[in-house]
Symmetry: C2
């Protein structure tokens, strides 16, 4: 069963349908990308598609990948340039680094923008001539199966990637549907043609990571298999199936594990052990021969499944029944055009490239992780069936609750957002701990980072009127997660009102983030009329105060006895400190639920602003964060490369000085993003960095998810129109915007003067036009009065 | 869903039904074993039950276990006295050795009588007082969690085992239903009560055997988990669920694996890492505390599943909903009484003990391996659903095709025999190699031993009129298996008519056994009217001739060039030799499909007999087989402890000298079996040794399965009545049998003189009476004429 592309029936803008694409394909119109581009010239979605540059973020520490996927696709098929051992793996979290000279193969699962990593499953490499079983050394030509490549030969578009493997003179192209990766290889004449399948490799590699694996050549030429790894998620099982457009004329299955205590009796074929029909073990590599492929094309289809090899075959057959690479590519292009057309952005080429690539990167995850029959594997590592929703996984929640999920409520259909919530609830239902996901992928929990940030994702969706889930079940799951004592000091947090640093690390960060999450429970419970729950969590929402040290003006960790831990150095970050991936300078502003209270604690909004200036204007030697890979993108202490800083520039606006926010945003946008491979200041973190960009470019940002308010920053595009899931359009126009005119002079909403620094979610959903008149000098009066501030600041000054 | 005990509706003998047992239980009649025995006094099944001594075979190298199971039960729950590393594991293949002083725990899966081994899953040990996590040393008291025990305190009955764990003063009792093991522990007063669960242990243990495992304490107190091992079958997954009659008051989950490269982020509870709700890893041991158990009983129910933890829970609930140990025990007793009542055997206590214990040991496998919902795991390691049959596994086919499966067609309902065939066919359908099982357990293939002996099992069933399977599918599977070139030299066998020793080991044995298997295909194909298939395999059935060396009179291995391999020593056995677990003296008589031809090859029946005498009368130093664990039970070269010899004593009868068979059988029965723990001359091999005993005691034996003929030996019981699956009865009476009168003087079948040395299967199925008059001296005339010989010998002399 293949689901149609999500349709938004009530919208008026032109929508390319799959049917239209099919007709075009049949007519030969879509035979080549060039033809496609021509046919799409008038279409905003197509223009959006063309603006994307998947290489942005593949250099530096962006950790994005350039390969082929569809929006939220289960398959994220991409070239890997190196498989690094664990201690060197940070830079290769997405498998590909733009500066590398060789490609080791194309694997089918990747994270977009993580710091920690895993995946890189089912690595496939086409080979012409001699088959080598080891990857070799990138510095020694032809020392292994890897191949040199050149960026000149690379093409990367949403849903499509192509490269020439120079060592083999093989042109390799990749595309994907939701659950199937499709490869097209053109082999040179005169050399034998092979496909290597290496199940030993993993992103974030270390000895013993592969627990068990299997490859099987079926009589019909289908290759299926399985791999179980003890990676970031322990005991993760992944199944796969591969089919080929040409017969497999020979095969060799190798187990390169040494020193196995006992291997049992050999299966048939052991006279030539590599020729057996199946192999099982911990270090498997397979080569497949295609004797009629030299000088020809070979199409390789690969499906994955969390459930079984048979389910992988079913996924393969359901989505890509034939071997029509161009059709799959056209369908992927259509899906992307559709998804990217959620925003019509105007601007110069560089701005549109940055903007649409950011939007593209926000549509990678949470990704589908469910078979075509609805089955998936939950955090109990058992198989379940999704009923009435599509199970998604890869929840990088500590990152994505901030801006990514709020953005997706604006640019993706309600159904997708409900799927996210239902997936969180299903995961909680099957959690051995009875809690919502923390950082999960492929259905499995990693317990990475802190907080219970599935809570604000659900609350934000609920508050925005998304209703495709059981709100009572959701609230119960949120409360259960917030009350689960054994997790990261929650028992003590409930007892003391803060997490005590003498019993739990990074206690200041935990207290602050728990308090925010609690506030979102209170918001949702209040909206549901559950006053008891609302009152209890409203109270907990104030627990940030227990972290505030009036003497130093920083958020700090207390000990069980109530005293702050000494000695205290606000510059200290990292393991053992009071903070999670941050220091006091970075974490002390995290009270999105009560910026008024934060300002008051500091002695007033002006005092808070003065502190923010200290953050941005400090002289900081970046070496102080040499031990913390994730703290990057420094402007003073402000670290745009990591999430705790993401709301900070917007706090000026809360404090009645939106023009200061406007200045800071200009500074950040100019220094932290660029339309180049190394154009991201830090890990994209499953789209959170990019979601920040999209919101900021539009001119507003969701500092406090579940508040239904967006603080206004300033627009970075002359015009952008949100094509909303409800079919309405909401445009943001920046009159007179240019490099010299970057301050908001005045604003109107639907023609009425707008003299406040925030938008309500309902105002966006209603459709309409937000028009800014930009000017060269700041307007210090605009939106500076308390009544013009967001409700969470309205009692402040 | 619990299936009722198999009923044989058309039979007249008294049948204890489950319903009757339930009524008796309700009335309190079955409240205690004593009451049960009283109520059953008049019943042959009950007497049979009482005659069984499960300790027979637990000493020496019988490798049986004394624990609790029901006939063909998925759970075979038994004490393990030691967990030995691989190189010392042979004697501990069933976990228990009668000579050992300590018990390390009770595990839920065992093979009955294997040489090679595996299993010992879900090892549970009750502990009073301090919890130790390691087994310790049997020579050092209280050095670990093991406990001393004494045989005086042991009780073993079919479906029940009890022992006192002296170190803890815990009385432990075990019983079982098909998929659930039930433990009853009585803890002493004054010490804390615990249950240890060790997932690290395995029968046939070696480093790295456990690939992955998991234990989870669910909020309702159910403990579930999973273990995956690379054992005899690679990548075997087994799930389990445990429930307790008292609340779990505390738990500690430990991972004792050292030097793990990376463990990911700790799950909640890590402050006290043992207290987390779930643990995953490769070396797990868990202790569970029961604070209200001291001085009390604790019932522990354990179910296993090949599919999932949830399925294990479903199995638990379907079969044993409460905690009524005595009810489960009574049901197990009823199942055994029912199954053992298939034969009413008369004789003295020792004879009945040996006979019924042998019959008991023939009812262990192939065992059920399917969840209550019909799902099982096949040889592709994928989950399938059995439709219209119950999936069984543990097929030790090289052993059991000889006499065990033929016996089960007489003593088990047609449905069970059809289930075996359907299970073989299902396994073949899901085999990555497209072939029938060779040696499989838990659905997985081990490739142990040689031949394609699922073929004679199916052919024998078909020839006997068992029809609960698709004969066309079966024949296709048999042919596919016999034609599968990559397996053990079949390609060469098809090409040359023999397996060439320069290309494949143990080639003489393979050629001989393939030829027999081929003959059974011909038999079945002929009966189905498939003349083409029959003719092709009839021809292959003659391939034994290619192994016969007229010069030496031995079966030998040829090389591809047609010459026999030199040098040749008929005493040489073992790896690298021409033979599988045997030598030329043992393997040269394996032509059950054409004893006439064999005799003719030797120059006539008398010459063959002279050779057989050389076999039995040779002076052989057993040390010659010191390197071959399985070659035991020597009488000359004859090795009753291993299967290639099992038909040899009967060949005299084929050759017209049945009195010589009678002599040899007396010699074998007297020397190779005894009603003692060390009373089996070799591994029971899933009941093959015992099936030989049962047939031989009855007076006939199936030398050539699928022939529908049984060669007559001599009876060892004064009277035995087969209560046949079709409801008929067939009695064998030995008039005048005593120690001095051991030769058949004359025989009648249903009152008519019987002057031939074989029975037809149809004659047994028709019911009736076979009466022998025994005498002190051999009757050299009886059944000695060619026309009185089995059809396969009728052309011989």
């Amino acid at each position: 069963m293949t689901r149609p592309v999500q349709s938004r029936t009530s919208r008026s803008r032109p929508v390319w349908s799959l049917a239209a694409a099919a007709v075009a394909l049949a007519a030969g119109v879509l035979a080549a990308p060039a033809a496609l581009a021509t046919a799409a010239d008038a279409d905003a979605g197509r223009r959006a598609f063309e603006a994307v540059d998947p290489f942005i973020g593949t250099g530096g520490e962006g950790h994005t990948f350039p390969g082929a996927t569809v929006p939220f696709g289960m398959i994220q098929l991409s070239p890997d340039t190196e498989i690094k051992p664990r201690k060197e793996a940070y830079g290769w979290a997405a498998g590909y680094r733009h500066g590398d000279p060789t490609i080791v193969g194309f694997s089918h699962t990747h994270f977009s923008g993580t710091g920690h990593s895993d995946l890189g499953d089912v690595l496939v490499m086409p080979i012409a001539g001699e088959v080598k079983l080891e990857r070799g050394d990138s510095k020694i030509a032809r020392s292994g199966y890897r191949s040199a490549f050149r960026h000149d030969d690379e093409v990367a578009q949403p849903g499509y990637y192509a490269v020439t493997l120079d060592d083999y003179k093989i042109r390799a192209e990749l595309t994907a549907s939701e659950r199937v990766g499709v490869h097209r290889y053109r082999f040179p004449e005169g050399q034998s043609a092979h496909v290597l399948l290496d199940l030993r490799t993993s992103l974030y590699d270390y000895p013993g990571k592969v627990l068990w694996s299997r490859v099987r050549l079926r009589p019909d030429g289908t290759v299926t298999g399985f791999r179980e790894t003890r990676g970031w998620a322990p005991g993760r099982q992944l199944y796969f199936a591969m089919r080929f457009s040409r017969p497999v004329s020979g095969h060799a299955f190798h187990d390169t594990e040494a020193d196995v205590a006992y291997k049992g009796f050999p299966p048939p074929g052991e006279k030539d052990p590599t020729r057996r029909a199946q192999i099982e073990g911990r270090q498997l590599v397979a080569s497949l021969d295609f004797k009629d492929a030299p000088g020809q094309e070979l199409i390789v289809k690969v499906a994955i499944s969390p459930v079984s090899e048979d389910s992988a075959i079913a996924n393969l057959d359901a989505e890509v029944p034939g071997f029509d690479f161009d059709r799959v590519r056209a369908q992927a292009r259509e899906r992307w055009s559709q998804a990217l057309s959620a925003i019509d952005a105007e601007g110069d080429a560089a701005a549109r490239k940055s903007f649409y690539t950011a939007l593209y990167h926000t549509l990678m995850g949470p990704s589908l992780f469910m078979d075509s029959d609805g089955r998936y594997r939950g955090p109990d590592n058992a198989v379940h069936e999704a009923k009435g929703f599509r199970y998604h996984s890869t929840f990088s929640l500590w990152d994505t609750y901030r801006a990514l999920h709020p953005l997706l409520t604006l640019v993706q259909p309600e159904q997708r957002n409900s799927d996210f919530v239902n997936s969180l609830l299903a995961s909680r239902k099957h959690s051995p701990y009875g809690v919502l996901p923390v950082w999960s992928f492929h259905g499995q929990e990693t317990w990475c980072m802190i907080g219970y940030h599935a809570v604000p994702v659900i609350a934000d969706a609920y508050m925005k009127g998304i209703r495709g889930f059981d709100a009572n079940e959701a609230l119960e799951a949120m409360v259960a997660s917030a009350d689960y004592g054994p997790y990261d000091g929650i028992a003590q947090y409930k007892e003391l009102g803060y997490v005590p640093i003498d019993e739990e690390g990074e206690a200041a960060s935990k207290t602050l983030e728990y308090a925010f999450d609690d506030w979102t429970i209170a918001r949702m419970a209040g909206a549901m009329g559950r006053k008891d729950v609302a009152a209890r969590f409203e109270k907990r929402a104030g627990n940030w105060r227990h972290a505030f040290d009036p003497a130093s003006g920083f958020m700090r960790a207390r000990k069980r006895d109530g005293s702050f831990r000494e000695p205290f150095d606000p510059s200290v970050s990292g393991y053992g400190s009071d903070y999670t991936e941050g220091n006091a300078w970075q974490y002390s502003w995290y009270v999105p639920q009560d910026v008024a209270g934060l300002a008051k604690a500091h002695g007033g909004a002006d005092k808070l602003i003065a502190r923010l200036d200290q953050v941005f204007e400090a002289k900081v030697d970046p070496k102080i964060f040499a031990h913390m890979e994730d703290i990057t993108g420094l402007i003073g202490w402000y670290a745009h490369g990591n999430e705790p800083s993401h709301h900070v520039a917007y706090l000026y606006g809360y404090a009645g000085q939106p023009w200061r926010t406007q200045e800071r945003l200009k500074q950040i946008m100019a220094s932290q993003y660029a339309p180049r491979p190394d154009g991201l200041a830090g890990n994209d973190d499953l789209g959170q960095m990019s979601a920040w960009y999209v919101f900021t470019a539009l001119g507003f940002y969701p500092v406090a998810p579940a508040s239904n308010e967006y603080i206004i920053g300033r627009p970075f595009l002359p015009k952008a129109t949100l094509n909303l899931p409800n079919g309405k359009r909401f445009s943001v126009i920046a009159e007179g915007l240019d490099e010299a005119h970057t301050y908001i002079g005045s604003a109107t909403l639907n023609g009425q003067p707008l003299d406040r620094a925030f938008l309500r979610h309902e105002e966006i959903l209603a459709g309409g036009e937000l028009r800014f008149v930009m000017q060269a000098q700041p307007n210090r009066e605009w939106a500076s009065h308390p009544k013009q501030l967001p409700y969470s600041m309205s009692a402040a000054r």
